[in-house]
């Protein structure tokens, strides 16, 4: 952990605020299911790793592929709430990392079980400065706990519930 110093140069202050807003937008746009705007948050190639939750291997995806996956998995839920807090940002020129805690709450009324699935853990971001500003170039989710009915995500992806 680096010492917590304050650097009044405009660049560092602006970079930190821009990264906080970028990650804030990830939560807000996911929860709003605003797929078009969501696609604009990412670098051209994104290292995406949710293997701690779903197994498999990390992927390298384009923003369109990434958002299509979100839409398929989350678009059918009744509600979605992402809480991302405790951002610890390290700047290195045109690159940066950010570690944060994340809680995702998923809601789907269904006839077969609990209507909520909540998962908590850590987000590790890799960020890049592009001509259009900071973008997310990598995201790893490390699950720490989960509670509720994970099957609602599968149910949501299968279509409207009776």
């Amino acid at each position: 952990m680096n010492a917590i110093t304050s650097d009044p140069t405009t660049t560092e202050t602006e970079d930190r605020l821009a990264i906080l807003e970028l990650i804030g937008n990830l939560a807000l746009l996911l929860d709003a299911r605003d797929w078009d705007a969501l696609e604009g948050l990412w670098a051209d190639q994104v290292h995406y790793d949710r293997t701690s939750l779903f197994g498999g291997e990390p992927e390298t995806l384009t923003p369109a592929e990434l958002v299509a996956g979100y839409q398929a998995a989350l678009g059918g839920l009744d509600a979605l709430h992402h809480l991302i807090t405790g951002h610890v940002i390290s700047l290195d020129g045109d690159r940066a990392t950010c570690a944060a805690n994340m809680q995702g709450t998923h809601v789907l009324a269904n006839a077969s079980g609990d209507q909520m699935w909540t998962v908590g853990g850590r987000h590790d971001y890799r960020l890049e400065r592009t001509a259009d500003g900071w973008r997310i170039a990598g995201l790893t989710f490390t699950v720490q706990w989960a509670t509720g009915n994970m099957h609602i995500v599968t149910l949501a992806a299968s279509g409207p519930q009776p």
């Binding site: 917590i4 110093t5 304050s6 202050t13 807090t85 405790g86 610890v88 570690a99």
Partner: protein
């Protein structure tokens, strides 16, 4: 707001978030390094029979045992909420909300203990570095429930 004040506010929020970051990773040395050597650390539980602090420490070194206590849990996740800060020149005060999640138990019977905390902080800046001069933890409420699948 001046650029200096903006940078200081960011740095102080960074300090608050670094405390949670180190706690969740069991980085006790890193967590202790966020405090002044003569830092004051106080814990109050709202449901305690007395309004007196349930824990009161007066130095950075004494914090090792407090942070070591987190090792009883399988994992913790501190979700820091909103902060408000009052800025001085080389000092500041502030309050930050937090929902601290603590997971305990074995694979077959895990429990979640959630503590709603208000951190009442005093910060000091020395040689450009912000540190906690005082951290008061007000535990306003807690909840414990079984953790796991409810299909």
């Amino acid at each position: 707001m001046s650029p200096d004040e903006a940078a200081d506010r960011l740095a102080i929020r960074g300090l608050v978030d670094a405390y949670a970051h180190c706690a969740d990773r069991r980085d006790a040395k890193g967590q202790m390094a966020l405090f002044a050597h003569d830092a004051h650390f106080v814990v109050y539980y709202a449901d305690a029979p007395s309004s007196e602090p349930q824990l009161e420490l007066g130095s950075r070194d004494e914090l090792a045992a407090v942070f070591d206590d987190l090792n009883q849990y399988r994992a913790t996740t501190h979700f820091n909420g909103q902060s408000t800060f009052e800025m001085g020149d080389d000092w500041a005060t502030g309050e930050t909300y937090c929902l601290a999640h603590h997971i305990a138990g074995d694979d077959d019977a895990q429990t979640m203990f959630v503590a709603s905390i208000r951190y009442e902080d005093t910060f000091a800046k020395a040689d450009g570095t912000w540190l906690f001069a005082e951290r008061k933890l007000h535990v306003d409420w807690t909840d414990t429930y079984p953790l796991g699948r409810r299909d």
